[in-house]
Every structure is written in structure tokens, then in C-alpha cells.
Symmetry: C2
């Protein structure tokens, strides 16, 4: 039975971290709300109604607080990091040892923290207000994000990659053709998520992110390597990959970059 992913149909958002794991593993899944939107009658007739039922129906025993959520058989799992924690062993996207699994999860939670901060650059006051209603505050928050938080997070990811003993040094790696990984010697969901985070940052803050990536060469290399993985590359070129836009987490408002 394919996994069922529930998420807003018009944005990459947090759903994209789950989609990337499913796509990179070649796992069967239905993107329920978007699949409904492609049918006659559109999203409201099928997929969206199915998603909203999980929020509104009192008989759901373990309700999601928000999407994305995944339905795997009888289990309903929300929280992006928890979904990935559940999926990764089945998809072969995490190491086998408990220590590697926990470390991978710790990295994912740190990625999630940065995603939330990136979102709040354009919504520092309230998700329920428009950007234009909090633009003055956004200018201040984005400045701090670019100057303090972006370098701090990227330098931490850089350190994680540089200190992974299974990653070869730059020159050796090029000669060997072996890829970089955050954890151990294999692709994990944390690698996919860091790709997505950097991709979003490059969209939202192209100037600041390019500048900081010069100081984080391992992160920049990982981003390029993940993008070139055959299944990921095929996905990114498919219609299933939505474009970044100004309804999502990563928004390009040039006044917030610099």
C-alpha cells in the first residue's frame, strides 16, 4: 500500500522534506491533496476534504496538529522530523546503529529549527497576518537572520560534514568520486533535508547565502551532490516538484536579502 502524504497543494513547505525522502528512495506514495487537485472537481472535492477531516473529525484518535502528516497503514504521523524518523529505516535512508539514527535525527531537528527561523524572517509577528502587515518587523528580523543566524547554522553544518571521519578530504573525494554525507558513509534523510534547506535559502536570500556558502564549502558541495542524484534530479525536473513561491517558507523578497 503506498504511503499517503497530506500537505497544502500549492507550496513546497515542510512537506517537501518528506517528499524528497520518498522520491530519493523511489518509494510509492500518493500526494493526496495534490492528486485530488489534478482530478475533475479539483482539490476541494477529494484530497483537501480528506486532509481537513483529520483536523476536524473528533473521532481521529491521534490527530495531527498541522500538516504535513503521513498515513502509513493505520498510523497517522505528523511533525516532519517524526515522519522522517519513522520512514527512514524503511526507506534505507539512515544508518543501522541507534547512535547514527539519533545523530541523524538531531541534525534534522536543527534543520527544522533553521527552517522555522527562515519562515519567521517574513512573518516575525504572526502567521495569520500578511507579510505587508509586518514588513517593518521583517526587515529587522531578516537582518539579524542574515548576519547572525545564517552564518551560525551553516558553520555548524560545515563542521558536521568536515568532522565526519567517513568523508574524504576535498581532493581525495574528487579523485575517488565518493560523495559527502552528514552521517557515516551513506545517504541519509538529513543530507536530503540539508539540500532542501540550502536550496530554499538560495531562493530566498541569494546574496547572503552565496556569500556564506563560500565559507562553507562542504555544505555547498553536498547541495550540488544531492541535486545530481539520479532520482532526485529526475524528481526536480518533474511536475511533482513545485517551484518556490511567495506563499511558502522560503520567499524571495529582495528587501530582506543583502
Amino acid at each position: 500500500m503506498p504511503y499517503k502524504l497530506f500537505y497544502w497543494p500549492g507550496i513546497q513547505g515542510r512537506g517537501e522534506f518528506v517528499r524528497l525522502a520518498l522520491e530519493a528512495a523511489g518509494a510509492p506514495y500518493v500526494d493526496v491533496v495534490r492528486a485530488g487537485a489534478a482530478e475533475p472537481g479539483g482539490e476541494s472535492a477529494s484530497g483537501m476534504a480528506a486532509m481537513l477531516r483529520y483536523f476536524e473529525d473528533d473521532s481521529v484518535p491521534r490527530p495531527p496538529f498541522a500538516c504535513p502528516f503521513l498515513v502509513d497503514g493505520r498510523q497517522v504521523i505528523a511533525q516532519t522530523a517524526a515522519i522522517l524518523l519513522h520512514l527512514a529505516p524503511k526507506l534505507g535512508l539512515v544508518g543501522k546503529s541507534e547512535a547514527d539514527r539519533l545523530w541523524t535525527h538531531q541534525i534534522q531537528l536543527t534543520i527544522a529549527d533553521m527552517v522555522a527561523e527562515a519562515h519567521d524572517t517574513h512573518h516575525p509577528i504572526a502567521g495569520s497576518l500578511y507579510y505587508e502587515q509586518q514588513k517593518a518587523e521583517a526587515l529587522r528580523r531578516a537582518q539579524d537572520f542574515r548576519r547572525q543566524r545564517l552564518p551560525k547554522f551553516l558553520q555548524w553544518f560545515e563542521a558536521v560534514l568536515a568532522r565526519n571521519p567517513r568523508n574524504l578530504a576535498n581532493d581525495e573525494r574528487r579523485a575517488d568520486g565518493r560523495a559527502l554525507h552528514l552521517v557515516g558513509a551513506r545517504l541519509s534523510y538529513a543530507d536530503l533535508s540539508l539540500f532542501q534547506l540550502v536550496d530554499g535559502l538560495l531562493y530566498a536570500f541569494p546574496k547572503a547565502t552565496r556569500r556564506e556558502l563560500k565559507r562553507a564549502p562542504h555544505v555547498a558541495a553536498l547541495h550540488g551532490q544531492v541535486r545530481a542524484l539520479p532520482r532526485v534530479a529526475a524528481y526536480l525536473q518533474s511536475e511533482r516538484r513545485l517551484a518556490f513561491n511567495e506563499d511558502g517558507i522560503f520567499r524571495r523578497y529582495p528587501e530582506l536579502d543583502g
Copy 2:
């Protein structure tokens, strides 16, 4: 060997969620920075230096991004939810099934999201600035938090408690003496964390939180029940429990309540 917990010595902060789990289980642990602070020479001579080493020493293979972090033998684990995921099976603070463990973690991650939003009511622009430098923005963000986010989160926790089939109805429970739980029929770290979250909200936003708890009677009851657990009650009255203060996550600025 006792667990070693590393966290800032002057605030409850996110470290408190780990402390509560260790205390409620009666587990041996050293609160490293605070233990150092109690010795001659103070914190800088021992505990604080030990904590900072994990951030600054390039030879730490899997460095924490921030505290709290836990040292368990050779493992260094950061991210509050990841620490609890690791500790809970050892401490008997989570169910045995994978489904229960994942659901408990999902609740913890939602608690973590609300903790971050509670923090940002007084720091909506930057953690590196003082409250006074972002007070105008804080007034706006806190209003949205009180009106939109506080009710939404508390109603979700209320639904989780009300829909747990192992929780008896109010009258039956009183007659039976049995406690409420978020997951299954036993105390989990999510119960402890929800207690701490509500305790912090009652400190920071006493008016708004008391008002909302009237509409969330299960949440209010759980808060009271956890506080009365023998080990938790003993801990809360000990010197190990720091008081809430205006350096932590939950701060009482009356202008932000209402």
C-alpha cells in the same frame, strides 16, 4: 555512571524538560554547569568551561549546536526532543510499542514548537537583542500568541487527552483515583513536558493562560496531577528547581499578558 546534563546555570529553559524526566524517574545525573557553580571557584572554573569545550573544540566529532545536551557514556546528544527520545525507554517514561513511542515524540515536538513561540513573544526580532530593543514588536507578537496560538495549542493538547481511550471520564477518574495521560495508561515524558509548558505559560501569561485553561479542563487536571507526583513534588521544592525568571523562555512581562 550518572548522566551528565549540560545547560545554562541560571534558567530553567529547555534544560528543564530533560531535568524533569531525570527527576521523575529518579535517575542519577549531574547537572554539570550548576554543580560547578556550587564549588569553590564557581562555574567558570569547571562546569561552564566543560560545556563550552563541546562547542569550541574542533575534535568533538558530533558537536551540539546548542544546549541542553546530554552526555551518556560516549554519546553526546543535543536537541531536547532527541535527548528525551533517547532517555525515555531507559527511564521507563514511554510505552513499549513503536507506535506509542512515535506518538509520544510527535507530542513532544509540538510542545517544542509552542515553547519556541512562547520564547519569541519577548524576542520576536533577535535573540541577540534585549527585550527592550524589541518591545514594540513583542507587544504585537504576544497579542497574536494570546489570541490565536495559545488557544490553538491548548485545544490540541485537550483533544489528545480527551481522545486517549485509556483516560477515564472526569467523574470515573475521580472515583478511581487514576491519573490522566497523553499516551496510553502510563506516565510519559510528554506528560512531564506538558506540565512544564503549562507551568511556564502560567508564569508568563497568568491571565491569558488561566482563561484558556478553563476551556481545557483535561490539560489543567494533568498539570495538577504531574505537580503532585511524589518525585516531581520533591524536586519542585528542592534547590535544584530554579525559579522562573526574566532571563528564561517564559518571562513575566505584564504588558505582554492580558
